[in-house]
Subunit: 140 residues, 3 copies
């Protein structure tokens, strides 16, 4: 059993931008030579979230519309009283979605569904340089 | 330390059906003979989700009502413009809830609360045959 | 590779109380002497949830307001018909947020962002004594 911790660097636009990180994670997995185990993807930050979805143009609009509906940007968040950075909505969205995801793999392949991709959503209200943690536990 | 990857097969009705998979997971765990570690349950697909709840008749109605309230089925999703499969709501619900759950165990027993069960929610709008991934990491 | 399972005990007030457990988890991690791996935090119970956020006074109001907005306490939950304990909202909130979180660490330090803390939210409608599971997998 091995454990390996890697970084996946992204430049994001923020504002609920959805980034398909599947290929980036698969490339890191191939480098490890591990055959059976799981990967943890973790967002070190409080304005981004990780989940999976089908990456197609329709959902790339539906998902941001959903977050805007239940956690609107232009609402009075107490967070903005503290920092005046106007990303209270970003924080509440990230708290809801969560910062961690775990995906199993066998034979060196992620066990994702055919129409399922790993996505990072940057909820912040400005461009960011992100360094996601991708950690591998498994055996060769 | 061992890592073992198993399949839990389910036939589901969809439409926010909630399936208690606790016993299925416990049976797989007993087969592994592992004593201390954790299980990852993962949905390979973009229209189902995993979480825990108290499985009793009231919540089996409350939970689908909640998802229908915040992500209604009969609303205009752009996903449906792409595929005409009318399961845009299924995808947004699954993206929100997430496809992975991790549960620790010791002495060969899942560390769930007394009134807590592991549930798979099939958000799709039709019956499906599902093969959930249940992965075990631990020691004997 | 080692696996170690610990308990983090908390006395909570319930009613969406948010408790920063970062320091408690870090203390347990230091005790293990592990250098690289990950921790799983798990809530054994169906009325609490785990996530991360920036712990500052504004968000400590925004997050409970959000849960009250989408899953109000004073609404008719079928769960309350079953048990008359009037915590139907607590259960639906916990089901949505989820009971598990995984956080990687290297050099014995959690890989959290600078403004990111691990929080337990007690959604129940009364004070509780909670025993969270904190499980460590890693190497020295």
């Amino acid at each position: 059993m091995e454990i390996l911790t890697k970084i996946l660097s992204l430049s994001t636009k923020g504002n609920c931008q959805i980034i398909d990180i599947t290929q980036g994670v698969e490339t890191l997995l191939a480098d490890t030579k591990l055959q059976e185990g799981n990967i943890t993807v973790f967002v070190p930050g409080a304005t981004g979230g990780i989940t999976t979805t089908e990456v197609e143009p329709g959902l790339m609009q539906d998902i941001p519309e959903f977050f805007e509906k239940i956690i609107p940007e232009n609402q009075n968040y107490k967070h903005n009283d503290t920092w005046q950075d106007y990303n209270g909505h970003s924080h509440v969205r990230a708290t809801l979605l969560g910062p961690s995801l775990i995906v199993p793999f066998i034979k060196g392949q992620l066990l994702l569904g055919t129409w399922q991709q790993i996505i990072f959503i940057d909820f912040d209200n400005r461009p960011r340089d992100r360094k996601l943690i991708v950690q591998f536990i498994g055996k060769i």
